[in-house]
Amino acid sequence: MIELEGLTKRYGEKVAVNNLTFTVRPGIVTGFLGPNGAGKSTTMRMLLGLDNPTAGDVRIDGKHYAQLKDPLKYIGALLDAKAMHGGRSAFNHLLCLAQSNGIPRARVHEVLDTVGLTAVAKKKAKGFSLGMGQRLGIAGALLGDPEILMFDEPVNGLDPEGIHWIRNLMKSLAAQGRTVFVSSHLMSEMALTADHLVVIGQGRLLADTSMADFIRQNSRSYVRLRSPQRERLLDVLHQSGITAVEAGGGTLEVDGTGPERIGELAAQHRLVLHELSPQQASLEEAFMQLTAESVEYHAHADHQGPGDAAAGRAPSGGPPPGQAPGQAPGQAPGQGWGSGWQQPRKGN
């Protein structure tokens, strides 16, 4: 159990982590999601006592990290695959870690085997690929067989087989009753591994919700329409109590009504349709929408990404359900913080 309370970190003017309060519970995989520069790594460093918080507090089972007498047996962390001396062999790297916590040497061989690095145990870490470095870092995290595991962007640099492996590893670790806290900037990755989701943007808490709730609220399915008789189509839909939303490029989007019913309506009124297609909004889109205002490093290419498309949407029916965007962060989970994503946004 990891508890953060009002955790804040300032680097000069820059607020990297802003008043974070949440809890990471045992027995599940908690995903820590946020765009690049959101403050995930900084939060994790504070958790490990590496960086001092400017304000607030973080405790592990009620204790500060520095109070842990046997830290590796308590919490294993993968921070940065490069956090090792390149001139040291994989075995010696793990051995010096093991010795510092009184962990038997045999355990080093075990974790090397677990991560599949036995064959290169005597090789220097600097010759390792990013994925191999990642595996070595994970071996270090598993060394003390800890009840809490923390991984900062563990799938970075892994090949598909490696990604598959680490997903299963995290799930099985959590299934053993361990606390697993894993960060990522990829919603799709989280959707596959996490049971609980903590989203931050620019250091602020944006969401703290179960994955199931997030999916339920954000995997919106809708129907996309294009028609040369747009005005008449809108009238017809309106008369039937169907709300259409203009989605740019001359397309309309309809929520909550199947393509069959819309097609039949159009046929009844002899309307020409150029497109009538069922669509599924991705979780990635929902995530981008959620963090749109807090993304730090925008690409300035002039193309329409999914987030931009959503942002450019203007309403043309009644007000869509859901909350206004830009809600105060840190609201209780499950209050539909993400359901406002289909609302119009002012600029980008």
Partner: protein, 328 residues
């Protein structure tokens, strides 16, 4: 050390009803192996839990939650300085740069020493100790110990290893203490050992009536202590500056500037005194005094050694003070 932990079957079950059952058992190769193999095979195929009514435990009740939590079969040991020393010893001997710098050091002291022994006669040792041939190698060799001292601390910052180290050992002062102790032991054994070797060679080759009977045991200890402390000073500087090149440059300045500057300071009346002190106490002259190059009546470099002890102590204390509060 410890027996391999035994599998603990009950832990294979997910503790929280809402934890999703893994779709499949993790691949065998990736089994959370050995001790952790418990959830492997059939047990990993946890039957889907009945429709979960379960709200997660209230956050405040972490004690309660912990009752279900995973407990490791690896025995818990309170970590102490002994663990840190073992770890630092592994670190220092498992990188090639250590081995190289120490080899070069030994080569310089012993190699140059042997050359000097071969080119001297017994009456050359009338007024100086038999360890003097080691002095020439030490003047160059001290650079190796300085480099090694800096690398012991700063290379961890350069590579990012320091985060891994402090995660494993959050008691940072213990890590620095272990580094300093291990480094000092290595440096002292290498330097005193090589000085002793050179002294034995010289006395073996040249002892006789023409050679004086200048005592030389003290030069082995003091000479070894002086260059080892210089290395510890470098280690402390490396820990404070966290940057290898910067720390090595700083240390070269510490060694060379007081040896060069007196020549300039002597030009002006007002700085003459300072220049003389520098000439007296710079690292090269200090070593010369310890090895009694100036003859039997000169001082034995004790005050020079004391000055270095004081400077090193101040640097080490500062390094400890800076260590705890800074971010890494």
């Amino acid at each position: 050390m410890t027996t391999p932990p035994t599998p603990q079957q009950p832990q294979a079950q997910p503790q929280q009803p809402q934890a999703p059952a893994p779709q499949a058992a993790p691949q065998p190769q990736q089994a959370y192996a050995g001790a952790m193999a418990a959830p492997q095979g059939p047990p990993a195929m946890v039957p889907a839990p009945p429709p979960a009514p379960a709200a997660p435990a209230p956050p405040s009740a972490w004690q309660q939650a912990m009752n279900n939590a995973y407990t490791s079969p690896i025995p818990i040991k309170k970590t102490n300085l002994g663990h840190a020393l073992a770890s630092e010893w592994t670190k220092i001997k498992s990188v090639r740069s250590t081995v190289w710098t120490l080899s070069i050091f030994l080569l310089l002291v012993i190699g140059i020493g042997l050359l000097a022994v071969a080119n001297t006669q017994a009456d050359d040792y009338r007024d100086v100790p038999f360890t003097v041939p080691a002095f020439f190698g030490l003047m160059l060799g001290q650079i190796c110990l300085i480099t090694l001292g800096v690398l012991v601390t700063s290379s961890e910052y350069g590579t990012g290893m320091i985060r891994t180290t402090f995660t494993a050992s959050p008691q940072r002062h213990r890590v620095l203490a272990a580094k300093a102790l291990i480094f000092f032991a290595v440096a002292f054994v290498a330097s005193a050992g090589s000085i002793l070797l050179v002294g034995l060679m010289a006395s073996g080759a040249h002892s006789g009536p023409e050679a004086g009977d200048v005592p030389w045991a003290g030069t082995v200890l003091k000479g070894g202590l002086y260059v080892s402390l210089l290395g510890v000073l470098a280690l402390a500087v490396g820990s404070m500056l966290r940057h290898s090149a910067g720390a090595i440059t700083t240390m070269l300045g510490v060694v060379l500037v007081p040896a060069i500057l007196p020549g300039f300071l002597g030009i002006w009346e007002s700085t003459q005194k300072l220049g003389e002190k520098m000439a007296d106490y710079n690292a090269i002259n200090s070593l010369a005094k310890i090895f009694r190059i100036d003859g039997i009546d000169s001082s034995t470099g004790t005050s020079q050694l004391v000055l270095l002890i004081v400077i090193t102590a101040v640097a080490v204390v500062s390094a400890f003070a800076l260590l705890e509060k800074r971010d890494v």
